[in-house]
């Protein structure tokens, strides 16, 4: 397929958290607000006067200093963020909007709060408590928390306008990003997709880590470009897969899967777009914060939700995603030492093939995948098994 015009620039921007667009925005006097989790609504951090940066630690392979503080038995992602912070890679941050949504990222953020790591005199860390359910009680609690710990803090510390008008403006910009990402992502649903999983992953990550207004022109152009993009005459993939699981901000991991013959057509993992790039709907008369709180709670498919219907509903959602995106199989991944996804992956690998007849490959990975040889073998075997299954299916149909 023809190269996408902005892909190389976007790839460049993913090489470090403090990328050229972040620097540009800061030079304009805007405040950079870090966060790690979907539960911290990025739209609130994208109010006029500030912008959100979902933290990553690209190319961090040996978090040595962080291992002293957090031991070698915690998630590599949390440790890599800590390492990057200790190296000075997050000194551009003006604040960290923290959540205790998984233990190790919480610990990373607590270190930022307790130790003088970020060399920025104005820097502060603020924690928001996130509910485990989607009931009215949870929504009310979530709203209160967002108001007190995000909006009030941004106003108090940086003088950010947090009025309803400002929120509506931020929602409008956010929705445009979501519309464009969804439009771009929808090309993955085609019988022969005109965008690869790797390309989509780069675009999606850029939208999470750069100021929205600065990335929008590139997204618009990319969406336009894709309207006329033609697939390869002879596509290089053998099957299509959905990927679900824990934190993954490494496009090379998607590239690795695709190099084994499995085109990644859906991304249901932390830092992915499913869910994550749905538009926020504000009903008439509804306060925007209420709409935001409901949106983030209702769209999230995080394994942290405990009620029975949600635990079971997550499996159905995964199966629906596979069907909607015409995936032949599902790869469920978890990062080593990630407890939520260790359990979720285990149960997914049992339930999805049994109840929904979707072939499932369950793997454990690192934040940066230095063990790619082992993973390659697993993916190749999975691709072969799904291919065989498809062949058997075709033969059986012919015989009928």
């Amino acid at each position: 397929m023809r190269d996408l015009k902005h892909l190389i620039r976007m790839e460049d921007m993913l090489q470090q958290a403090n990328n050229e667009l972040v620097r540009e925005a800061r030079e304009e006097g805007r405040k950079a607000i870090g966060y790690t989790c979907y539960y911290m609504p990025e739209v609130l951090l994208d109010l006029p006067g500030c912008f959100s940066v979902r933290l990553r630690a690209p190319n961090c392979t040996t978090p040595t200093m962080a291992t002293y503080y957090m031991s070698g038995r915690t998630c590599h992602y949390g440790r890599s963020l800590m390492e990057r912070a200790l190296e000075g890679g997050f000194n551009f941050l003006d604040a960290q909007m923290a959540t205790e949504t998984c233990t190790v990222t919480c610990r990373f953020q607590e270190h930022l709060q307790r130790m003088n790591i970020i060399q920025n005199p104005d820097f502060f860390v603020e924690f928001t408590d996130i509910p485990f359910k989607k009931t009215e009680n949870s929504v009310e609690h979530y709203k209160k928390q967002l108001q007190a710990h995000v909006l009030d803090k941004l106003h108090e510390k940086f003088g950010i306008d947090t009025s309803d008008e400002a929120l509506l403006k931020a929602i409008e910009q956010h929705n445009e990003v979501c519309r464009l990402i969804t439009e771009i992502g929808n090309y993955r649903k085609l019988a022969v997709p005109t965008i690869t999983g790797y390309e989509f992953s780069v675009i999606m990550l850029t939208s999470l880590t750069c100021p929205k207004d600065k990335i929008l022109p590139m997204l618009r152009e990319t969406a336009e470009e894709l309207k006329t993009r033609q697939p390869d005459i002879k596509p290089g993939w053998k099957i299509k897969v959905a990927v679900a699981g824990a934190e993954n901000d490494d496009p090379d991991f998607i590239k690795l899967i695709e190099s084994c013959g499995a085109l990644v057509v859906a991304d249901r993992y932390c830092y992915g777009s499913l869910p994550g790039r749905e538009e926020i709907v504000v009903n008439e008369g509804q306060p925007p914060l209420d709409a935001i709180a409901r949106h983030y709670l209702n769209t999230s498919c995080c394994p942290r939700f405990m009620p029975q219907d949600l635990m079971r509903g997550r499996k159905k959602y995964l199966a629906d995603v596979c069907r909607e995106y015409n995936a032949d199989g599902l790869i469920v991944e978890s990062n080593k030492f990630c407890e939520y996804w260790s359990y979720e992956r285990t149960i997914d690998a049992l339930i999805i093939p049994r109840d929904y007849d979707i072939p499932t490959c369950s793997i454990e990975k690192e934040y940066i995948n230095s063990a790619s040889g082992q993973l390659r073998t697993r993916f190749q075997a999975f691709v072969e098994s799904v291919e065989l299954k498809k062949l058997h299916g075709q033969t059986a149909k012919k015989a009928d």
């Binding site: 957090m70 031991s71 915690t74 009931t135 030492f337 407890e339 454990e364």
Partner: protein
């Protein structure tokens, strides 16, 4: 003349040994063990009075009561065949019940006088409460032909859900935690049993690194080893991510009405209290709907007030432990009794026990009886303890004179609950519940983890036994900060690595080795009883 004097001396000593037992340094307790199992070749002679006390009031008394409790809590003599059926059906049951007296032996080894008595009463209470719980499970177990009526009146909950949530129904229903006996108690009494459950969890693809407690809890369900005694269940997110994950797997296995009652993580934030209180109210509504029984507010109030009495006595105990040398309860009895009682909630047996212990405590203070005279260091144990070696403190005192005065789990629920108004009561209940085991001072926010320094001072401790649960992400995630603080404050801290219930990761013997190394190389001290330095109890219960 000198021969005569020698003979006289020997006779005097023999009489003294007969009456008082050997002095600490001459006991050679390690010589009593059989290799690998840690069983005794013969029992220790503790002196006439204490040996008789042990035989009558601990050994005979408890064996008798263990049978008596089955009959008492199982509804008469018919409970005996039911109990046998339970032993046959559920792996954890027989494996926990049969070696109980060895659990006493391990925990009370070397104890004398009032320490022996007070600590043993704590053990006795835990044994009785354990039997009460599993007999209720069996009597309501539909798999064993238990009563349907009892089944309908026995709700289940995660062991990290405080039993107090069910107080409004304690006059009509009896809540039984799902994992307290099959997992928690089992680990202490017989550390082999749980390994099977951990392996079961890993056999379905769960990696080996999540908290082994959560893995074991999963495994019990995967092995279908939980009695069918409950019509509905209340679960919790406490204490960590692994607990939430466990709930997911358990839900698929239990397949019955479930109310998730997660607690807010940022429990110091005043804004979270209202949310938590509402969750409790929603939970009560769920219980009413499922059981068809309305709440009894008087029953709730009565139980809370009685629980407050237990807390007030606990404070008295802390006062004596912190400020005198006369505290008669050893480290393991203190830790286990307190965590069991505070999580289980108000039960008659705790009051009966506290009454007996109070008498002993008052006697010790009044008569200035130092039950641990060989104390060289006053130790505070911090973080989550190795369940398979909770009696390390008994060994450490006997071998090195390390007296574990207090531990983190004991200090967790440091509050009474107001009952003057409904709002105050609910508010306090929410907070109590948020301070769940392993949460407040371990995987919870950083503020409370470092309360260690205040408690060290308060309890006049000069050493920290820093539990290092290798698979606890929350505690592993603050490892370096503790190291920094220990250095900056010049505190002697021994890191004790372990894997909660799983002895295969770090054995008891390795734990002893680490303490021995620290005591010899850093503290330059000599053991009180060198026979306890090294021995193999790898096959012990």
């Amino acid at each position: 003349m000198s021969k005569k004097t020698n003979l006289l001396k020997k006779a005097k000593k023999a009489v003294s040994v007969f009456w008082n037992g050997k002095p600490h340094e001459e006991r050679r307790l390690g010589d009593l063990y059989l290799d690998k199992t840690g069983l005794y070749k013969h029992r220790e002679w503790r002196g006439f009075k204490d040996t008789m006390y042990y035989f009558n009031m601990i050994w005979l008394y408890n064996y008798g009561n263990m049978v008596g409790d089955i009959v008492k809590y199982g509804g008469g003599l018919k409970a005996l065949p039911l109990f046998l059926k339970g032993v046959w059906r559920y792996r954890w049951l027989g494996q926990t019940y049969l070696p109980v007296m060895h659990w006493y032996d391990r925990g009370l080894e070397g104890m004398r006088g009032q320490a022996l008595r007070a600590s043993a009463w704590h053990y006795r209470a835990m044994t009785s409460e354990t039997i009460r719980q599993f007999m209720r499970m069996l009597a309501a177990d539909q798999r064993l032909g238990g009563s349907k009526e009892l089944y309908d009146r026995t709700p289940a909950h995660d062991e990290t859900v405080w039993g107090g949530i069910f107080y409004p129904w304690r006059d009509r229903m009896d809540d039984v935690p799902l994992q307290m006996i099959p997992y928690f108690v089992t680990c202490h009494v017989n550390n082999h049993t749980v390994l099977n459950y951990i392996d079961a969890a890993q056999s379905i693809g769960l990696p080996g690194d999540p908290c082994p407690m959560c893995q074991a809890e999963c495994g019990i369900f995967l092995q279908d080893d939980v009695p069918e005694y409950y019509p509905f269940v209340v679960t919790s997110n406490e204490a960590c991510d692994g607990s939430v994950g466990t709930s997911v797997i358990q839900d698929w296995m239990m397949d019955r009405p479930l109310f998730a009652m997660p607690q807010p993580m940022q429990f110091d934030d005043p804004l979270v209290q209202e949310h938590c209180a509402k969750e409790i109210e929603e939970c009560w509504k769920f219980i009413e709907e499922q059981s068809g029984m309305p709440m009894n507010m008087e029953e709730l109030k009565k139980n809370l007030e009685e629980q407050n009495e237990l807390q007030r006595f606990e404070w008295e105990k802390w006062e004596v432990a912190a400020n005198t040398d006369y505290y008669p309860i050893n480290g393991v009895a203190q830790a286990l009794y307190r965590i069991y009682q505070s999580q289980d909630g108000n039960r008659k047996i705790w009051h009966e026990t506290d009454k007996k212990v109070k008498k002993i405590l008052e006697k010790c203070v009044e008569k200035k009886i130092n039950s641990f005279p060989m104390t060289r260091h006053r130790v505070i144990a911090w973080s989550c303890a190795p369940l398979y070696y909770s009696h390390w403190c008994t060994w450490a005192y006997n071998c090195w004179g390390l007296n574990c005065i207090i531990n983190m789990d004991s200090l967790m629920f440091n509050m009474t609950i107001r009952t003057d108004t409904y709002e105050n009561m609910l508010k306090d209940m929410a907070l109590y519940h948020e301070w769940a085991p392993m949460r407040r001072m371990a995987v919870g926010g950083m503020n409370h983890i470092f309360e260690l320094w205040e408690y060290m001072e308060k309890f006049h401790c000069d050493m920290v036994m820093m539990y290092d649960q290798l698979q606890c992400k929350g505690m592993q995630g603050v490892h370096g900060l503790f190291e920094d603080e220990f250095r900056a404050r010049d505190i002697h801290a021994i890191w004790m690595p372990h894997a909660l219930p799983d002895k295969r990761t770090v054995s008891r013997s390795e734990i002893r080795g680490i303490i021995n190394d620290y005591m010899t190389t850093i503290m330059h001290e000599k053991p009180l009883d060198p026979t306890l330095l090294e021995f193999d109890d790898s096959e012990g219960w």
